[in-house]
Symmetry: C2
Subunit: 156 residues, 2 copies
DNA sequence: ACCGACTTGTTGGCCATACCAACGATTACC
DNA sequence: GGTAATCGTTGGTATGGCCAACAAGTCGGT
């Protein structure tokens, strides 16, 4: 508890403690906070939310599915899938109908309008991402994605 | 039988859509979710929370400070600082006393017991972090931290 | 010395995210 | 056939990050 040039007049000094700046979990959290704000704002500007994208991405890539499957694929809770499908169906981006082969299930599928919307969200999201990762080169972004994927795979 | 009504071509279920797996913001969010759970659980096991660490880290590195300054240094809201200082003071990890030179302020300082606790949290957090980043080499972890710091600096 | 503008601590509340619990209806398993 | 599991759905909870307002105090200009 010796070194305390409490107000190092230099602007050089970061005001965040070293302990935090060298803690990956803290860095991840901070970066994610920025990312969330950027993405949420960008999506909000076109009336969408993050869950919308996850769900429609799964639909467009794997085709129609039950809500439970959708939840598993996007990492959403079943209950959150309900609300998300409600919102998307209200806007005509997906359709929900009972599965005749299994009357417990609903079959959800994406509409043409939904696909167009998804592609729009791709661009909106792309811009937000560019803003977030501005200081990183393309190679670095790839490396970052690679590492994060490795972490997720390990914990999946 | 009839399996999943919709199983596009035999590829073994890659649960997560490509769109998400190549979206840095989504990857960040997922990784952070895991990190938060690991860290919150680990800290909770010793009766601490994330804010405790941020605040005590700032205190130990920069010395006594007002609550407003603490908030600025750790990126906490003033109102959250109040609650955090309350909890830490109840446990004897920090002391809060009025600043005689500016009667609006409180001066918060860390106690020896608090410093010991902080060092304990260092270890607890270190373990959680190792668990999170298990699949990454030391060099990769450094690279990750470097990139995230670059992003934060750019958005600071 | 005074008045307005700002800061500080504090309380209270908001909103979104991520979960969890339970339920009726249905299907699968043995 | 009977038990266990699954599905959609409704509710609720816990947390995190934030914002608004306020009284007490300080500061800047005049």
């Amino acid at each position: 508890m010796a070194n305390k040039s409490v107000d190092c007049g230099g602007m050089e000094t970061r005001m965040t403690p070293q302990r935090l700046r060298s803690t990956s979990t803290w860095l991840l959290g901070q970066a994610t906070t920025h990312a969330h704000r950027l993405v949420t704002d960008a999506l909000g500007a076109v009336g969408a939310r993050r869950y919308h994208y996850s769900l429609m991405a799964a639909l467009e890539e794997f085709g129609p599915a039950s809500q439970a499957d959708l939840g598993r694929r996007g990492g959403l809770d079943r209950s959150d899938v309900v609300a998300t499908v409600n919102e998307l169906a209200d806007r005509g981006f997906v359709e929900r109908r009972p599965d005749p082969a299994d009357r417990r299930r609903n079959i959800v599928n994406i509409t043409p309008s939904g696909e167009a919307h998804l592609r729009h969200l791709d661009q909106v999201l792309g811009q937000a991402q560019d803003a977030l990762l501005a200081p990183l080169s393309a190679a670095e972004r790839e490396e970052l994605a690679r590492m994060l994927n490795a972490v997720l795979k390990h914990h999946g």
